[in-house]
Structures are given as structure tokens and as C-alpha cells.
């Protein structure tokens, strides 16, 4: 053992900084989860603050929490239902384009929004949707309608989040699907044509089955971020007017923990959210192992 440690000393030295960082910023915070069961204040440490049992989980009886939980599930479900198939469909469409210059142009342009922050996206939404002089409301009033306060509306909030989320990521998420499509054996299509299969049935019986492994992997990998819907996208767009539908677990944690200083309860909410993510990843992986015989591990 010692001899091999010596033999690989350079390798271990190179790995060391990474593990120091993992220890400090991943594993130590995991031990910090105990704050969920403790009465923690700044000034105390994670370890010496007093245990309080499940007191911090009192939010489970709070109606506000259940509204937030429902909002989270609602938005996560909408984003998944619309956001997950969209890049697959877009990839199929892009793949059908005959003109290769146009094809490349569409790809380049559709990847672009991925590189802007959600803050920039929020500005785009604000400039297009605002009441005073926003483009969409100008069009509505020109057509004789009444302006709509999209940014402060409980009805329009979810569509706004889902559409802007799709707009930002749909192109970028086609990359892997488009690459996978190119690996499908062209002979399969030739054979299908000989048998008289039309375009749609070729897509259904060749392209989509060929994409299944990629779809599975992306599905599993999308699970951890499924429930974490809030931080980046929702927080910038949330305001008192749309908060009843906009408030999700992440924004709730930010507000109660970092802004109001209720560290214990906020950690408890965070723990629930992390556990849900973990369960989602593990179950999706298990299901995919059973169904396709392959998963991430």
C-alpha cells in the first residue's frame, strides 16, 4: 500500500486541491444539514448550537409552505411537460432541413439565448411586456385591446416562465439529439424507403428508437434541476403581485434563510428539496435500467 502511494504521489498531489475544495464546499455543508434540527444563530457554530428536534419542521403545518410546495410542483411539471420534448421535436425538425446553410444558421441562432443570464432574459421580458411602452402592450392597444400587466399577473406568470425557459434552452438542448441522429445507420432509412415507409413512420420507427439512449440519459440528468426551479429564473421575475403563484421552494429558502435569518427552518426546507431531487434521480435511473437496460450507473 505504502509503496503504491509513493509510486503515485504526484497523482495524489494533483488530486488533493480538488478534494480540499470538495471537502470544504460540499462535504462540510452536508454536515451543516444538522442545522435543520438545531436552533442555529450567527455566532454559534453548526456543532455547538442546541438540538431542538423537529421544531424547525413546524412549517409543515404552515399553509404558506404548502402553497409554495404546490407552486414548485406545478411549475416543475409544466416545465418538464413542455420543456423536455421540445428539443427532441426541434432536433427532428432541424434534421429534416435540406438546405445546409439554413440548417447551420438555425442551429447557431437557436443556441444563442443559452449564453445569456436569466437576468438578461428578465430584461427582455420586461422590455417586451411592461405596461408603459412595452412592445406587446403597444400591439394590444393598437389592436384595440386593454393593456395587460403581464409581469405582475398571477395568470400570466406560469406561461411566462415556461415559454421563456423553453426559449432560452430549447436550441442548446438539441445539440446532443442532433449528434445522436447522425450516428443512426443510414441503411435503416434506405431499407424503410424500399418498404415504402413515409417520412413520419421513418421518424417513428427509426429516428426515435435510435434516440432513446440519449433521451434516457438526458432525462436522468435533468432530474436534479427539475425541482430546483427557482433561484436563477424565478427570483428575478418575482414581485409582490405575482408572488402567490411565483413563490417556490428555492425562493422561500432564500427569503426565510438569507433575508430573514431563520437558518434552521430554511435548512429544513432545503433538506426536503435535496431529498426529493435525490429520490427523483435514483428512481429515474432505476426505471431506465429496468426498461432500457441502461442508466447512468
Amino acid at each position: 500500500m505504502l509503496a503504491s502511494l509513493r509510486k503515485y504521489r504526484w497523482q495524489y498531489m494533483m488530486i488533493l486541491p480538488a478534494f480540499v475544495l470538495l471537502f470544504l464546499f460540499n462535504y462540510v455543508p452536508m454536515t451543516g444539514i444538522q442545522v435543520a434540527f438545531k436552533d442555529f444563530h450567527i455566532g454559534l457554530t453548526v456543532w455547538n448550537s442546541p438540538w431542538v428536534g423537529f421544531e424547525n419542521f413546524a412549517f409543515l403545518k404552515d399553509e404558506q409552505f404548502w402553497i409554495v410546495a404546490r407552486n414548485t410542483i406545478y411549475i416543475a411539471a409544466l416545465k418538464f411537460v413542455f420543456g423536455f420534448p421540445a428539443p427532441i421535436l426541434l432536433a427532428l425538425l432541424i434534421n429534416e432541413v435540406r438546405n445546409s446553410v439554413f440548417k447551420r444558421f438555425v442551429q447557431s441562432v437557436s443556441y444563442l439565448p443559452h449564453f445569456f443570464s436569466w437576468i438578461v432574459i428578465a430584461y427582455i421580458l420586461q422590455s417586451l411586456l411592461t405596461l408603459d411602452g412595452g412592445l406587446v402592450n403597444q400591439l394590444i392597444t393598437n389592436l384595440g385591446g386593454d393593456p395587460v400587466f403581464f409581469l405582475g399577473s398571477t395568470e400570466w406568470f406560469r406561461p411566462m416562465i415556461v415559454v421563456s425557459g423553453m426559449w432560452k434552452e430549447v436550441g442548446w438542448n438539441t445539440i446532443l439529439y442532433l449528434a445522436a441522429i447522425t450516428t443512426i445507420d443510414p441503411q435503416l432509412y434506405e431499407a424503410a424507403k424500399v418498404e415504402g415507409a413515409g417520412k413520419l413512420s421513418q421518424i417513428r420507427h427509426i429516428t426515435i428508437p435510435g434516440l432513446m439512449p440519449t433521451i434516457t440519459i438526458i432525462l436522468i440528468l435533468s432530474m436534479p434541476s427539475l425541482i430546483a426551479v427557482g433561484m436563477d429564473q424565478i427570483y428575478p421575475l418575482m414581485n409582490p403581485a405575482n408572488q402567490p403563484v411565483a413563490d417556490v421552494l428555492d425562493t422561500y429558502i432564500l427569503r426565510s434563510g438569507l433575508q430573514q435569518g431563520y437558518f434552521g427552518p430554511a435548512t429544513a426546507v432545503g433538506l426536503i428539496s435535496s431529498l426529493i431531487s435525490l429520490i427523483l434521480v435514483v428512481t429515474t435511473n432505476k426505471i431506465s435500467n429496468k426498461m432500457n437496460g441502461e442508466g447512468l450507473w
Binding site: 500500500m1 504526484w10 497523482q11 495524489y12 498531489m13 494533483m14 488530486i15 486541491p17 480538488a18 478534494f19 475544495l21 470538495l22 470544504l24 464546499f25 460540499n26 462540510v28 455543508p29 452536508m30 451543516g32 444539514i33 453548526v46 429534416e96 432541413v97 435540406r98 438555425v106 447557431s108 441562432v109 443556441y111 449564453f115 443570464s117 436569466w118 437576468i119 438578461v120 428578465a122 430584461y123 427582455i124 422590455s127 411592461t130 411602452g133 403597444q138 426559449w167 446532443l176 449528434a179 440519449t214 440519459i217 436534479p224 436563477d232 428555492d250 429558502i253 432564500l254 434563510g257 438569507l258 437558518f263 430554511a266 432545503g270 435535496s274 431531487s277 435525490l278 434521480v281 435514483v282
Partner: protein, 298 residues
């Protein structure tokens, strides 16, 4: 090859749909650019859709003259450069070390890395740890916690394992130690991968507003994106006009009355978005390459 009528129709439908998608991506930026280049009070009357009606650079003069924005820009540039270099370096040496299949405890170590991708302590314990390490209100909070990326590590490791063993072995026979092998074999052969991951890391740093908003309260440490986030919900333009260095521009008070919150916002957001818009066309192929390198499943 001849297309049937049905195929022609479907080609047209697809091209029109994808064309509209492209317009939906490009148009918002043109709209924001037009508003930012238009006299604010005039834009507020409506009707500016594609290009400015009353052209002015005054919005940009005000925005670029603001010392808070200037400072935020420097912070963004510094964190992007330092963060990308540190992030690539620490992740690369770890990936190289772990690429040795015979390394004792290798699978255990990889397991510890994988766990962090699946489960985390959550925001509050992470914040408490930043506090304990005195990273709150420090520039280094942008650099150190993100310096190792588990995801990038796995991508790099896969890439390095694709480099022929023979190259490494012959260098070992010549007596090269791993540091030398990394420097003279691995890094030169990994350039496309490093370029791609470096770009991703740089974009991540450029776009991050969260750390600046929650881990830092000192206004002299916030990056541009955090400034934008604060400006997003601002009710008046005092945020931008206060602490303005460009007193010459401010002095032309008659013009100032024409500046609106919206025109200032659009100018500020364009200032943060333009660098990405400018470099994007040249670097796009590296980005795509980066995603594809990462997708090789093992």
C-alpha cells in the same frame, strides 16, 4: 434528388417555423438595442420597433460614466479571468491524476465526487460554511467555491483517457514524471477540450449574479450581473445617476430630462450582453464541441 409535392410543402412549413424561431431569438436584442440608442422620452411614446427614431448615445454616456457600473465591470472581468484559470487548472490536474486507471483507491475517490453531483447540503449550510471561512463579502467567494467542477472533471478525465497510452508510456520510459507528462503531452493534446470547457466556465462567471447578490453586501464587490439584478426592480434612475463620474454628461441637464428608466436599463443590459453577442459567432463551434466531448458515455 427530386422532391415530391408533399415533401416540398413540409420543407416550406419547416423552414418557415424555424425562421420564426430565429426571429424570436434575434428580435428582442434588436429591440433592446433600438430602445437603448433612442432618446428615452421619445421611446416612451411607443413606436420604436426595429431601429432608433431619435438616435442618441446619451444613454450609454450615462451608463458608462457611472462609477458603480465601471467598477462592477472590472469585478466581472477579473472574476471571469481568474475564475476560469483557477477552475480549469484545479479541475484539469485532478482529472489527470484520476485518469490513471491503476491508481489505488481511484473508484472510491470517484465515488466521493459523484456523490456531490447527486446530493448537496443545500443553500443555507453552504452559506454558513462561506461565513465560517470568511468568504462572505470577499472577492474570493466568486473564485474558490466554484474552482472545482465535478462535471468538468468527468469530461476531462474521459478526454484524457482517450489519449493513446503509448504516448504516455514512452514518456515515462524516458523518465518524465506526471507533472512533465501533463505539461508536455496532455495539455497540448487537450487544447480543444480545454478551450471548450474554459469557455463554459468563463460564461458561467460572466453570467453569475447570484453570488454577488447574496454572498456579498459590499457594493464595490458586485459584478455587472448583480448590478443589473438590482436595477431590474429599481423604481427610478437615481441608482445610475448617483455616483456618476461623467459629470460633463450629467451637466447637460436638458438632455438628462429625456433619459428614462427604460432607456437606461436597456443601455445597461446591452453593455453586459454585447461582449457575448460579439464573441459568440467566432466561438460557437467550440461550445458545440464541448457539449459533444462531454456526452461520450462511459
Amino acid at each position: 434528388m427530386k422532391l415530391s409535392t408533399g415533401e416540398k410543402v413540409s420543407q416550406i412549413v419547416i423552414v418557415v417555423f424555424l425562421g420564426l424561431l430565429c426571429v424570436s431569438v434575434i428580435y428582442p436584442f434588436m429591440y433592446m438595442l433600438a430602445i437603448s440608442l433612442n432618446v428615452g422620452s421619445d421611446a416612451a411614446k411607443g413606436g420604436v420597433y426595429l431601429w432608433p427614431r431619435e438616435f442618441t448615445l446619451y444613454n450609454y454616456e450615462v451608463v458608462l460614466g457611472n462609477s458603480v457600473i465601471q467598477h462592477a465591470y472590472i469585478i466581472t472581468i477579473l472574476r471571469t479571468i481568474i475564475g476560469t484559470i483557477c477552475g480549469l487548472f484545479i479541475t484539469l490536474i485532478a482529472a489527470f491524476g484520476l485518469s490513471y486507471r491503476a491508481l489505488p483507491l481511484r473508484n472510491t475517490l470517484l465515488g466521493y465526487i459523484l456523490v456531490t453531483m447527486l446530493f448537496s447540503g443545500g443553500l443555507i449550510p453552504f452559506y454558513i460554511q462561506l461565513y465560517n471561512l470568511n468568504l462572505i463579502n470577499s472577492f474570493w467567494v466568486y473564485i474558490i467555491p466554484t474552482a472545482f467542477s465535478a462535471w468538468n472533471m468527468f469530461v476531462m478525465m474521459k478526454f484524457i483517457q482517450g489519449i493513446p497510452d503509448a504516448l504516455i508510456e514512452s514518456a515515462e520510459i524516458d523518465g518524465a514524471n506526471p507533472v512533465r507528462i501533463l505539461y508536455s503531452i496532455i495539455i497540448p493534446l487537450s487544447k480543444p477540450m480545454l478551450a471548450a470547457l474554459g469557455l463554459f466556465t468563463a460564461v458561467m462567471h460572466w453570467n453569475d449574479w447570484f453570488a454577488g447578490a447574496f454572498y456579498v453586501s459590499d457594493q464595490t464587490l458586485i459584478p455587472v450581473q448583480t448590478f443589473l439584478q438590482q436595477l431590474l426592480s429599481a423604481q427610478d434612475i437615481s441608482v445610475v445617476l448617483g455616483s456618476n463620474n461623467n459629470q460633463e454628461a450629467i451637466a447637460r441637464g436638458s438632455m438628462l430630462s429625456n433619459v428614462t428608466l427604460m432607456s437606461i436599463k436597456m443601455a445597461t443590459v446591452m453593455v453586459s450582453a454585447l461582449p457575448i453577442l460579439c464573441v459568440y459567432p467566432f466561438l460557437q463551434k467550440y461550445f458545440v464541441k464541448g457539449v459533444l466531448i462531454g456526452s461520450v458515455k462511459g
